[in-house]
Amino acid sequence: MDIFIQQLINGLVVGSIYALIALGYTMVYGILQLINFAHGEIVMMGAMITISAISVLSATGIGLPGPVLVVGGLLIAMPITMLIGFIIERIAYRPLRNAPRLAPLITAIGISIVLQQVAVLVWKNNPRSFPDLLPHEGHNFFGAVITDLQIVIVALALLIMVGLLVMVEKTKLGRAMRAVSMNQAVAGLMGVNINYVISMTFVIGSGLGAIAGVMVGANYGLAYPTMGFMIGLKAFTAAVLGGIGNLGGAVAGGILLGIIESVGAGYLGPLTGGVLGSHYQDIFAFMVLILVLVFRPSGLLGERVAERA
């Protein structure tokens, strides 16, 4: 039983990390119907810049406490990733707003390669260890273990989701974002500065990406220039699972994917009498994804916008 609870907790933590990243994908998708493939790299940048920033901060010798250092690092990394996000939209997506749908997909992939290579040039290929500065006291929970940091991650994912939801649903900027997502031309007529709104979306999404990157780095104790691809892919999958474009869906999809993976890894073996094992966890996850989409073609919480004939 404690093993099962532990597996659920494992899934919840990974899932929350996916959720944090998936929120970034979903925001951009929601407004532009664009898969921002470079978001995974933004997450990576967030982690890598934070590591560098922390080492600079601790080199000053002021002797700041660990968590302050991490937050300090993050506060340096966030504006930088925000700027990167802003620039990406500006140079790679904006000129293609009226282009065929796949064109921005290809530039997105290009951007993702470029960011990755720039990171390699700056930080070299080796994995960097993330400084061990945050408390990760383990807490016993019905025989299972969960650390402080993990609790923070889960809470943060939920908190950010709620924050974003409030912003999108209740604020004027949020209303403008939704309007832009439905009809840019008319939103412009209403006095919405479309470029500003879209830039803001990228800036906010990229800021969140930095937070997610730091969480990933801190939780696993490392970061490296190529980390963005895989984790970005997982998070994107989560976003789709939940219904892309839907903020609640991103979190639900993320957590569900995390739990599917961890339960898959933990129980596929015993359940199939050892025929399958943890190497089938990804297959299992993708199968679940396909099944969900077959029965709910717009994801778990996605709006069912039946196309009108």
Binding site: R175, M182, N183, V186, M190, G191, V192
Partner: protein
């Protein structure tokens, strides 16, 4: 009375092209403060293009647009509305997944006077009681006529000085068309200047005081509404049997 003679809009030699295609080939238009002017013409004559150009959605190739005495060519699209220029676009252009009320509030997006906005909202609801009933419904699920009401209501919330309407009766049931035109007259009577583009030329000319007829990117007739209604050529070309 001097106020009423003031030219709110003055268009000279306007030309618009899409890529190589000239859609508007040098037209002159004038609208005085408080007027209701109709613009009619066949499909593809360039009516919509003209309206879009007036609100900056399309950039002219040549010509000048003076609005309220000022050249508008350098204003970004999203500033037109705060200058009092508002377009109810062809096909209504509502935001399908915003609620009715959110759609209406989008009209007041540029405004910051919260109390006044609430007043105006209440006024729209009295004009269109139907919308009040449905203020929480997603606008995409409304019927065509209701969507047209949303589009007009939204424009009212923008407090326009010059309201441009692009085929407000398209695809609507006769009873709704009558209602929409009633509202148009009412808004006009409140002093809002209007330029009305319509396929239903007869109805448009009956509502407006003056009219322009457009044909393949050019203005072919400009006259009082009654004169146009009586013009045989106009009758033959646009009004049908």
């Amino acid at each position: 009375m001097s106020n009423n003679d003031k030219k709110l809009l003055e268009v000279k030699g306007l030309q618009v092209a899409y890529g190589g295609i000239q859609a508007v080939k040098g037209i002159d238009l004038e609208i005085k403060q408080g007027e209701l002017v109709a613009l009619i013409g066949a499909n593809g004559a360039g009516k919509t293009t003209t309206l879009k150009t007036l609100v900056g959605m399309v950039k002219p190739a040549a010509g000048t647009i003076l609005y309220d005495g000022q050249d508008t060519s350098r204003i970004p699209v999203y500033h037109y509305i705060s200058r009092g220029l508002s377009l109810v676009p062809e096909g209504r252009g509502i935001f399908p997944r915003l609620t009715v009320e959110e759609n209406l509030l989008m009209g007041a997006y540029y405004r910051n006077d919260k109390a006044e906005i609430q007043n105006d909202l209440a006024r729209v609801y009295t004009l269109f009681p139907r919308l009040k009933e449905r203020y929480k419904q997603l606008a995409g699920t409304l019927s065509g006529g209701e969507q047209q009401m949303v589009a007009m209501g939204r424009a009212i919330l923008a407090r326009p000085k010059l309201l441009l309407l692009d085929e407000p009766s398209m695809g609507l049931a006769p009873i709704i068309v009558q209602k929409i035109f009633e509202i148009i007259r009412q808004i006009a009577s409140e002093g809002v200047t209007m330029l009305l583009v319509e396929q239903n030329a007869k109805l448009a000319l009956k509502t407006a005081s003056r009219g322009y007829v457009m044909e393949s990117g050019k203005i072919t007739y400009a006259d009082s509404a009654e004169a146009l209604l009586a013009n045989e050529k106009v009758q033959h070309a646009y009004l049908g049997e």
